[in-house]
Symmetry: C4
Subunit: 232 residues, 4 copies
């Protein structure tokens, strides 16, 4: 049996969660699962419908984006995954979708403002929307540059990838990550719901105030702080 079997199964199972959670139409999304010791990740093959996926079909790729094992072509977003794994040493799962509400915020090129505790349970900041890339980056090694666009924007905002596990790429769509592929999928579903609620909140009231700092701090710390006790 392949020494990559465990991440192939992890990638398979988490990819199959995307349609169940209503986050993808057809093949508009992909999940990868990494084994950092082996220095590789398993990712969805390109253009294969979810119902035809199997663990074996997951392609093994190294952190420079080279295919290590697999007969199928890896997802066209593979280089973006590779760049993030290479530079962010504590993540082992990445998800990319075109989920409806998060993508609409990305198309509007707006950060998602923090309006309530559902958001604060997962992030202390507005969910960042990286600006659209420059013509040079797009015409160059596009998917590779997408990874750098994400990293640079988080750095510019002073955000740590360990704290903020989700981003919108302007005009494109969301990326999320985490310590496991499962956590990254969880983050994608949370992001979509937070995006939907923020949209509705602004429709219900034109001048919504940002969440007060004490509530942001309380909710985030009860879930993530050293004395965390959260769980509904």
């Amino acid at each position: 049996m392949s020494k990559y079997r465990h991440i192939q199964e992890e990638a398979y199972e988490t990819n199959m969660q995307l349609p169940k959670l209503g986050l993808v139409l057809f093949t508009f999304g992909n999940v990868s699962a990494a084994d950092r010791d082996l220095g590789v990740f398993a990712i969805k093959p390109s253009g294969v419908p979810y119902e035809d996926l199997t663990p074996d079909s997951m392609v093994i790729v190294d952190f420079d984006g080279n295919t290590v094992q697999g007969n199928l072509r890896p997802s066209s977003d593979t280089k973006t995954h590779a760049v993030l794994y290479k530079h962010w040493e504590k993540i082992s799962g990445i998800v990319h979708t075109h989920s409806t509400y998060a993508t609409s915020w990305a198309q509007a090129q707006r950060d998602i403002p923090i309006y309530g505790t559902t958001h604060a349970d997962h992030n202390t900041v507005d969910i960042p929307c990286a600006p659209p890339m420059s013509d040079e980056m797009i015409q160059g090694n596009y998917e590779y540059e997408t990874g750098f666009q994400i990293m640079n924007y988080l750095q510019e905002k002073g955000m740590s990838y360990e704290e903020v596990e989700m981003v919108l790429v302007g005009n494109h769509a969301p990326f999320t990550w985490g310590k496991t592929a499962k956590k990254a999928v969880y983050n994608s579903a949370v992001l979509e719901e937070v995006a939907r609620m923020a949209y509705l909140t602004e429709q219900i009231r034109g001048d919504v105030p940002r969440l007060q700092d004490s509530l942001i701090k309380k909710h985030y710390e009860r879930k993530h702080g050293p004395d965390s006790y959260y769980g509904q």
Copy 2:
């Protein structure tokens, strides 16, 4: 068999209704069922996915918030439930969700105006939205204070918890209650639908008039009055 088995089963069955009714994503909600003679309630354990719940996993807690039976930690909202049971002697069920539309109204910090008979069948008043809590309350015993914030706001508005069985907590999300856990779940689903319709109504017409008093009275009394005859 445990003497708490009946409320564990009731709490289990009503918790399982939340995902079926589309009111929760992942574990973003909880139901409790009380036995007032025994002075305790059964509540969802913290952070356990709905598909892994069993009646046995429901935690037994007294009205001061102390765990009486159970190996798992009770929901992080347990103290809010405890406060409400302690002070409102005629309720035996409480539900907390982050359902999409009700939560969006809470984030907008607005009462839900009474625009039609679907609302009036269940409430004669706008659904109250308690203001966000003060920094002091948040930094203190947060979940405990949330219960008081709810009680104080209903009192300030001159509303009885026996008449108005639902509230939004500003910036947070809805709580509902009732004489049974089943009724409290019913109230959560009704609130979500009323919140959705009020949102759409304001989108369709900028200056919607409030429902006329005679219609509020008629609909509420045909369902709840001494000569009630309602049922569709």
Copy 3:
């Protein structure tokens, strides 16, 4: 076997369509099926959840609203159904729901403008919204008066119940009807979709023009005219 069995079965089957079509939450709706020769209709019992309905549980009521057979109380909207059957001799099915979009238009007290051929396939006119009833009508025999409010408004607008098989009751919700209960259910689903599209159309463009007359005429006649040939 009861001589009413055929309409009980018809009412049962059409009532069961409402949750399948997403038109009702809990028991917020009802269908009746009439036998005009026998001068009675079968209608959903009051307050019984859809999953507990059986053909036997359908209550038989005459066109004056008197229960002829059945142990359960008929739907609280029964008198509205009775009034319409009594005065509109060519209908044998009536549906009342609180479906989300149609009810939101009713709450906004607006006719649904004719913006496209989906609407024109079923109606040549804006879908009428009867104004909220007067305090006197509400405080009197409310459900009975609701029937008259509907009939009077159609008459005032110069509309025939044989041409226009749907109406909104202002601040309340939609009623639809037809030559059969099945057709009335079909009309309820069409109304909900037309209401949803009209809402979205106005959001997409602030000053939507009404559909041109030639297109209204063409679409309606290809479906309903003497030389009808429609069917997608």
Copy 4:
């Protein structure tokens, strides 16, 4: 066995995809599949509910709109399909639906602006909305003229049917096409999602900028260009 069996099965299977993808209510849609060598297409019969369809019930029609085989009447939109097949020699599948968001844009008589890469993956241009037809065209051979309205508008805009495989007909609804019926159904689902996202994007931000040219070019070419490598 009929020599048309292969396109009957193809038309049957693709028609059955429409309700599964949430693109139709009742019979509000139709798919056809052509065999260009035989010079005919198989299309849904008129007014038959999806659950009653069989491969045998698909009607065989030639490119002038004459029925070649079948006891049922073909879809009322058949002449529109025939005109498009006759003039566009490289398509073998056509879909017409009244899907909610695409139809709402058609009712608003607006092209769908290109706001993101989900759109750009499939089209380099705004999705065209042909203006409502003239009274003369409507009163004449309506469905036949609908085909010409679509063709003329694409020509006027300088668009090739091989590049742009989808259109809105003003006040009516979308048509899509492709080299196979399956591809045409795929296009219908993509169009509906792109329409939904464009609507949400404009709600989230009043002055959304159009997608930059370099990103349009990149996304379209990675999927459709000579060196295409796309697949998520």
